[in-house]
């Protein structure tokens, strides 16, 4: 009986043991942006911009923007606290953006490291690079929504159904620390009152070295991974005839049998459906022609892309990791980096159009 009593008493006492965080009394950051400080700022410092939504009683959502400059990103946090009526918490963070300047000059791994170190931040947080000015981007009002969720949703649906390859905090770290991968992140910019996906930023280590334009994302995704999406690809046969191919599924096959003689064959297979056709009649011969044209076009673009990757010596297609997986003995990353730029990588494309809509 005494035992039970003691137990119950300590249970009641325990509830007051740790600090509480009541939802109405905290400042939940949903998006954070990092930029280099303005010209008059000191060297080695970063500017952090945090946006925290405030839900008003009448249904309005107000975005509070906090801007601070410091040497460590957690130091920025304590500075935010000094100008906010409520304490900051990072458990609801959805997106972390880095300015192109910071990604190109300083590298972002130190900033990403603080995100992965914090147990309250999930691995699904989106990372992104912004080519517009960070402060303007985050201070823009995107309607009656919370900025973080708005940008998160834009990135989320585009990587789930659209042309953006899937990226998040975990993927970035996986690729960064992996022996045969280089990370990439979505590149966004402010487009009047919208956030637009401009393409993807390619990294060498933690520094951005190049980017791929949004219109070439289809090709990149074919090269990169197996996927299915709702986006379409437009083929122009001549000035008048265009066809929009709606992509059903895509698969990539890597042939590494000839890796001994430094040869890799990348085989992309796309299954598609015609959604729009501007010509007169869609005959089987025309279909064949469309398939051929699309194959040629993607092959050309893809080969150019691979060549660029090789000349920059970056490997966003994780070819290195695939080679590692068929290499007995120690896979040497330095050796691979030497071999990679001169490797003979062939890209072959195979398009099959299965349906041409409900109209013949």
């Amino acid at each position: 009986m005494t035992r039970l009593f003691l137990f119950l008493v300590s249970m009641i006492l325990l509830t007051g043991c740790v600090q509480k965080s009541i939802l109405d009394d905290i400042q939940m950051v949903t998006i954070i942006g990092y930029d280099l400080p303005d010209a008059d700022g000191e060297m080695g410092q970063i500017k952090g911009i945090a946006v925290s939504p405030q839900y008003e009683a009448d249904g309005r959502i107000e975005n509070n923007v906090f801007v601070q400059t410091a040497e460590l990103s957690k130091e920025i946090r304590s500075q935010y606290n000094s100008e906010s009526p409520k304490p900051f918490v990072s458990g609801k963070l959805e997106v972390a953006l880095f300015s192109q300047d910071i990604a190109e000059t300083e590298g972002i791994i130190e900033l990403v490291d603080t995100l992965q170190r914090d147990p309250s931040i999930g691995s699904r947080v989106f990372l992104g690079i912004s080519s517009s000015d960070m402060e303007t981007l985050l201070k823009t009002n995107y309607g009656n929504v919370d900025t973080g969720t708005f940008i998160h949703d834009t990135l989320s649906h585009n990587s789930r159904h659209g042309m953006l390859p899937e990226t998040n905090l975990h993927d970035f770290l996986y690729n960064f620390y992996s022996e045969g991968n280089d990370p990439f992140l979505p590149l966004v910019a402010l487009d009047e009152d919208k956030v637009k996906i401009m393409g993807i930023a390619l990294f060498k280590g933690d520094k951005m070295v190049s980017s791929i334009d949004a219109k070439d994302l289809f090709t990149f995704k074919v090269l990169h991974q197996k996927f299915s999406s709702n986006d379409s690809f437009t083929v122009s046969l001549n000035d008048e005839e265009h066809a929009a191919i709606y992509n059903i599924a895509s698969k990539r096959d890597l042939n590494l049998k000839m890796i001994g003689s430094n040869k890799i064959v990348l085989h992309g297979k796309v299954l598609g459906v015609i959604k729009e056709y501007s010509g007169e009649k869609l005959t089987p011969a025309k279909l064949k022609e469309i398939e051929m044209t699309m194959e040629k076009e993607i092959e050309k673009k893809g080969s150019e892309m691979i060549e660029e990757f090789q000349s920059l010596n970056i490997d966003p297609l994780s070819l290195g990791n695939n080679v590692r997986s068929v290499t007995r003995g120690d896979f040497n990353k330095e050796d691979w980096n030497k071999r990679y730029p001169d490797m003979d990588i062939t890209f072959k494309m195979d398009v099959t159009i299965t349906e041409s809509g409900v109209i013949e």
Binding site: R3, L4, L6, F7, S10, M11, L13, L14, C17, V18, Q19, G91, K92, P119, S120, I121, G122, S123, R124, H170, D171, L173, Y174, N175, F176, Y177, S178, E179, N181, N321, N322, S325, V326, T327, R328, G329
Partner: protein, 364 residues
């Protein structure tokens, strides 16, 4: 010294050994054993985990061989083989080892709660409350301990399902090529992996409490095989989820994989997972502290009830003394090393000594 006499009413059914073995194995180790095992064996670490597990099936077999001949517990075995003083000394070391396991488990769990959930959690208060609960279980005797270990396995078992989330992000090509490490590297991996399997040596203490102990052998093997299965699964998932260097930077790989989990009703799954983990930790503490207390009772004839509270106070104080990450790591490392020696060297040694002694006595 004859084996202990345990009244039938204090004994438990043989099938409960399944839960007793499994629950004492799965403890704080599974939260982060992947890194240690993969440090040397790399992408072949899952083979090391599997091999370590299967090798321990042999050790469990040896334990049963020894105990079926002895018909007692570790204390009587020591006395019969090595005499009163040396045997008693060895028993004391074993008791210290059991209690050290309890300290390690409690401190590591508190560390996890502090790092992942509440940085300002007071370890004294949390430890006191948790140990009060342990005392509550222990004061019911071994039958309650066995019951707790049953619940400690069944209730949190749903956590196995959480390994599905990282599978969506798995890069299974990372597991290739198989067997790409030298025997030495694989052995280091086995060593790292075997640490998370420890704890089943408490069998030495509670076998007299099992009805028809010979029948419990297959349950013990079964409980261990379930652990092997879960660990191998977790290891494969982890290797596919992290890249090698990333894994080396991750202290609690299992908990970090939970960061990817997304559910409509909860933002961070770790809060549920770690809280559920208290149920996994509870039988761990109960069994090890019970084994320690039982050992002292058998050595000294002080009743176990009286000795439990001093042990619990000792566990609380000594576990709270470890304040830093490095010292907790060190604590884990040393209990693991002793445990490794215990199962792979000492158990076969006991078997051989008992065999020789049997031959000599038989001849004389």
């Amino acid at each position: 010294m004859a084996g202990p006499e345990v009244k039938d009413q204090y004994k438990v059914s043989p099938f409960l050994v399944f839960y007793l073995v499994h629950s004492v194995q799965v403890g704080v180790g599974v939260m982060g054993f992947q890194r240690i095992s993969a440090e040397h064996a790399g992408n072949d670490a899952w083979i090391s985990v599997l091999a370590a597990g299967l090798s321990l099936n042999v050790i469990i077999f040896l334990i049963y061989k020894i105990m079926m001949k002895e018909k007692g517990d570790l204390i009587s075995l020591h006395q019969n083989l090595f005499g009163k003083w040396l045997g008693g000394f060895l028993s004391l070391i074993a008791i210290a080892y059991f209690i050290a396991m309890g300290i390690t488990v409690l401190r590591t769990y508190i560390e996890v709660v502090q790092v992942w959930m509440f940085p300002d959690l007071n370890k004294w208060i949390f430890g006191t409350v948790f140990l009060l609960l342990v005392y509550y279980c222990l004061s019911g005797g071994f039958r309650v301990v066995a019951g707790i270990s049953f619940f400690g396995v069944v209730l949190p078992f749903y956590l196995v399902l959480t390994m599905i989330f990282p599978l969506f992000y798995g890069h299974f090509r990372d597991l290739l090529p198989f067997f790409n490490h030298s025997i030495k590297e694989m052995y280091e991996g086995v060593k790292g992996a075997s640490l998370s399997y420890l704890g089943f040596t408490t069998l030495f203490m509670y076998l007299p409490f099992i009805k028809e102990p010979e029948k419990s052998h297959r349950w013990a093997q079964g409980g261990h095989l379930l652990t092997v299965f879960i660990y191998t699964l977790v290891m494969i998932t982890t290797l596919a989820f992290f890249s090698p260097e990333q894994l080396q930077k991750t202290i609690w790989a299992t908990l970090t994989t939970w960061k990817i989990a997304e559910m409509p009703f909860v933002q961070r799954f770790e809060y549920i997972g770690i809280a559920s983990w208290a149920l996994v930790i509870l039988p761990n503490l109960c069994i090890t502290i019970w084994a320690g207390g039982r050992g002292i009772r058998r050595l000294s004839r002080i009743s176990q009830r009286n000795v439990t509270i001093p042990i619990l106070v000792f566990v609380l104080i000594s576990s709270s003394l470890f304040a830093r990450r490095e010292s907790i790591d060190l604590l884990n490392e040393y209990t693991s090393k002793v445990g490794f020696f215990f199962v792979y060297v000492y158990v076969p040694f006991l078997f051989v000594v008992q065999y020789i002694k049997g031959k000599v006595d038989g001849a004389g």
